[in-house]
Symmetry: C2
Subunit: 453 residues, 2 copies
């Protein structure tokens, strides 16, 4: 469904509510079958109307719709429905969605929900809530099929029918030995096309790719992108199966990890909330720290210019090339740093490639710097009619600037990564500030040596 269709449904529902044609409303609502679409439609309705439509959904569907809504809108519902309705919805949710929602809800809601849960389950939920945020453990679900190596294909298929899970998590079934250790997996496809009398141990694949409960979601996402599986098993330190993670949860993560890097590289502290849900004050809080740091550090650049005022007084023309010099340095540096930071994030390059990358960037710097300073020299001589000595000085500085900024743009993120920090925090803004100072030192240093003062 497209944006326009969502709006049409919303308007139509609204008009039915205004005209109090609730029977017709219920019919139209029940005609909608896709839970993702329903969630999108009702999210943008007013509290009262949203709740009305939400309550018209059959119980199992309302839980699914709920799980596809934004946290903000989930809270709007939680705050308006009765405790009984709430625990019914929570009960209907898949285990991983339940954990996700409990992780995000305010403490009083969590207590409310847990009160209505059987002791055993409460224990399990609490255990899951203890996994570090964004770890594999916090993403996994316990809804998966476990098979024993001695089962036959027929027994396995009957077992699947019996547990009858209604999620794609049954497409890969995991095989555990007597110590509950993960020893292999069988896809539902293999089960369906295999001879019914075959033993699981004879058709299972033993080379299982798994992740540890404590691994970060970014590494989990990398494994999914690399291997292209539907699900990955999550194991503890003793290689016992604790849960599985399915690809649909990973799609969002691949996207949101990229968004996080975009924000970090633009000198913004990342936030998990949606842009439109945040107040201007919340948004400002994520941006002020870096703006302050960068503003203060830019005063050093100003200090450098100040120190060379005696040159500027003689050669005021030099001043007008400063923006071109620092901007070009900043731009060529951030080209290199962006490429390196992103390639490190996707795993395209690793730290072991550091020398090769830096060497390559220097070569790129020589090519780009050569072309830029040549074009610049021609412009200064033939268009701007600048004194030849100054033109040479500016062009040489331009060349050094580009080569150096390419080198720094590649080297600094690698260095940060080497120190086990996130290279994305070497925001291009920060690299630009560093390059600015270096460029000005070279520019005025050369001017001081070569110009008659």
């Amino acid at each position: 469904m497209e944006y326009q269709e969502y709006k049409e449904y919303r308007d139509y529902f609204k008009s039915l509510i205004e005209k109090k044609e609730l029977k017709e409303l219920k019919e139209s609502v029940s005609e909608l079958s896709n839970v993702v679409d329903i969630a999108e439609i009702i999210e943008d309705m007013e509290d009262k109307d949203m709740l009305l439509v939400f309550r018209m959904l059959p119980k199992d569907k309302s839980a699914e719709v709920f799980s596809y809504m934004e946290l903000n809108d989930q809270l709007r519902i939680v705050n308006s429905i009765t405790d009984k309705e709430l625990s019914e919805i929570i009960d209907e949710l898949y285990f991983d969605d339940r954990i996700d929602i409990l992780e995000e809800m305010p403490a009083n809601v969590v207590t409310k929900v847990l009160k209505g849960t059987p002791v055993n389950e409460r224990k399990l939920i609490n255990e899951f809530l203890r996994y570090p945020e964004n770890s594999a453990g916090s993403l996994m679900t316990i809804e998966y099929v476990v098979l024993k190596p001695e089962m036959t294909v027929k027994e396995a298929l009957d077992h699947i029918k019996e547990v009858g899970m209604d999620k794609e998590t049954i497409y890969t079934c995991y095989v555990e030995n007597e110590y509950k250790m993960l020893i292999g997996f069988v896809s539902l496809r293999t089960l369906v096309v295999s001879d019914e009398s075959k033993k699981i141990k004879d058709i299972m694949i033993e080379d299982v790719v798994s992740v540890n409960t404590l691994e970060d979601q970014e590494e989990v996402a990398d494994a999914f992108v690399k291997y292209g599986y539907i699900a990955l098993p999550v194991v503890d330190g003793e290689y016992r199966l604790c849960g599985i993670i399915t690809f649909d949860d990973i799609m969002d993560i691949v996207e949101s990890e990229a968004t996080e890097d975009f924000h970090k590289m633009a000198a913004i502290n990342p936030s998990e909330d949606e842009y439109l849900d945040q107040t201007p004050w919340q948004l400002s809080k994520n941006r002020i720290p870096w703006l302050l740091i960068l503003m203060i550090s830019a005063t050093f650049t100003g200090g450098i210019i100040n120190r060379y005022n005696y040159i500027l007084v003689e050669y005021m023309i030099l001043n007008s090339f400063v923006p071109m010099m620092t901007d070009t340095g900043g731009n060529s540096g951030s080209q290199s740093s962006t490429i390196v930071i992103r390639a490190l994030a996707t795993g395209e390059i690793g730290l072991s490639d550091a020398m090769r990358v830096m060497f390559k960037e220097v070569k790129v710097g020589i090519i780009c710097g050569g072309i830029l300073s040549f074009v610049n020299f021609l412009r200064l001589i033939f268009i701007a009619n600048i004194d030849r000595t100054i033109a040479v000085l500016v062009s040489i500085t331009m060349f050094i600037t580009v080569v150096l900024s390419k080198f720094l743009g590649a080297a600094l993120p690698m260095l940060v990564k080497r120190m086990n920090l996130d290279p994305a925090i070497m925001a291009s803004a920060l690299i630009t500030t560093i390059i600015d100072s270096v460029v000005l030192l070279i520019y005025f240093g050369l001017a001081a040596s070569f110009l008659p003062l």
Copy 2:
């Protein structure tokens, strides 16, 4: 497998080859079962060694390994093996992988491959090769299961066993009516847990989310992220099923579309090749155009400074605040533009939110600008001991700079999107250049009006 393990395998294989212990090599190779890992291991070997190991793989496995290799390495293999070996590999590939590879291979290789293909298939391949690059049609595969509405569950399962596809593409089966139009889908899960005598038309879901053959891969990826399905059907203008796209192909796309935006925003023309595979010259070609444009446009900024030289001669101190002013403007502008460009790309905001977003960014600008100019004022008065009039002038300019750059940072990408262009080309570098000029005009404009000259 981790990077270190790959290297160990490579070193071990190399030592075996050097010692000519080929029997042992073959055994170790056959012990490796994961095709993704094998591809990673052999990709970094020398031509001769890579080919030796590659030829030791069983035929079906070698085709799979081949499909997981980078284009560059695939070409190394294609250029060294015989025509017979090549067509054997191509025959073993899944249809979508075959199309992908043919799309990328040089024309002479394509001709070579097509020569060995039966007429019918050649026609089909040519048809697929005609879909625009990066369209849904160019991504889809023809390996899927079609069911008829009148089939029973048992008949459907027998049909699946018979066609016996060995890919996850069977997890969603599509139902066509007599006109070959897509009318519904059934998941393998539903088939397995349903009563064998039920009719497909009674268990199928009719509300199918599909994409059109000509839709861009970015929209296809959005649909996957939104709905979380394993596969999406691709239909033509008459709603006839043409193929399906599976989630594993989409994971890469979500990642590479983000990479493309990273590069565009850092003023780099995006390239499909891997960084390490490109020569410094190729890399430079993607970076030079924007560097040149930005260098030339920065001369305007220089021109503005030049025009106000008469102020600078009197108040040289003003010059040292220029970097702080333009940098802060650039940074706050690129914070806003990055957030807006990324939110537009992920669909978090749309053009219909334009007014709301710009209004919000202005508010953020007032908060950030207020804090920054206040801190700056204190620093100028108490630490730098600057004249109070100048301190007020600089602080007022700082405030206007931040508010304005937040507004421009949000508005310019929206404007570009409104003109149906890619907002990512409003590279933060370009926005910075625009903001630079505006800031300097305000700064010197205010100085000219308020300072005694």
